[in-house]
Symmetry: C2
Subunit: 178 residues, 2 copies
């Protein structure tokens, strides 16, 4: 499947509702548990998604489309969301994510991006030149990856409760960090 | 986290809404694509979940709680949902799943299960005696596993679109079938 702006947006605009239905009103036993030291809980993942809305995806798209001489991206902060998650309820985080994502989708739609614009590039500190098309594709896959992660983290809370069925629950065993 | 009926139900009753928000009205490019030969697409996963509602979870719970001499479970049919998915739209499948899950949750709640009843067992053809508690825990983890899978399958549709960001999208690379 090739990247297509409308089909990409159709995923991006669903994520707030999916997360709201998944996590709103759920016990902290589900939302605040992780997979072990150094891993993220669902509430921390939502805080990470908020940070992406504030500092990454559309900010980088705007850099790419700007007239600035430098198109350098600021690296994605992979730490500060952990404190942010501690300071807010899951519902406050879900509400903020819904608001920010809605605004960003509106901005993205208003850009009326052409296929030529999707080829314009920014400068990633590690990867070098990267086109807008890959940035937007990554935004979509990143959402899906984190919804998958939230599901896996919650499933693992029952890893000692499912008895022999572990054998048929790949979600408990098949994820291998590189 | 130990199995708890109310907290387990809080996941089970969300799944239809999560899937509806995720998949309703989405392009077939997302809902009907899989991860390769022998793997399932989102629409096939929803059909599999329907089969679980019809033939597995609550049916097995009722067997466990019954007065029958034999408490043998019928093995979960892992094939027929593929045809079923071909014969129905994604919306019809989502609607059917929502209806069946709603009925099954009502049945489960009406059972008012005691901790003693959760220890009662059925006979699994491969595992032997398994307690109701593990069956219900597995139902929950199974839902979460398939939501995770739907997310992963959809993310993989962009595996060739994200360029160098593949490196930071574990969802594209970290799932290893046993």
């Amino acid at each position: 499947m090739k990247f297509n702006l409308q089909k990409g947006i159709s995923i991006l605009e669903r994520t707030p509702k999916v997360l709201e239905n998944y996590l709103s009103g759920l016990s902290k036993d589900w939302t605040h548990a992780n997979e072990g030291d150094g891993t993220w809980s669902p509430v921390e993942i939502v805080a990470h998604l908020i940070l992406g809305e504030k500092t990454d995806w559309m900010i980088r798209a705007e850099i790419i489309l700007s007239d600035r001489a430098s198109k350098d991206f600021v690296p994605f902060d992979m730490e500060s969301h952990l404190q942010y998650a501690k300071a807010h309820t899951i519902q406050a985080l879900l509400n903020e994510f819904t608001l920010l994502r809605g605004e960003n989708i509106e901005k993205l739609k208003a850009m009326n991006l052409t296929s030529d614009q999707l080829k314009l590039t920014g400068m990633h500190s590690e990867f070098g030149e990267v086109p807008l098309r890959e940035l937007l594709s990554t935004w979509v896959a990143h959402d899906l990856g984190h919804i998958s992660q939230i599901s896996r983290v919650m499933a693992k809370q029952y890893q000692h409760e499912v008895g022999p069925w572990t054998k048929y629950l790949g979600i408990l065993t098949n994820w291998k960090e590189q």
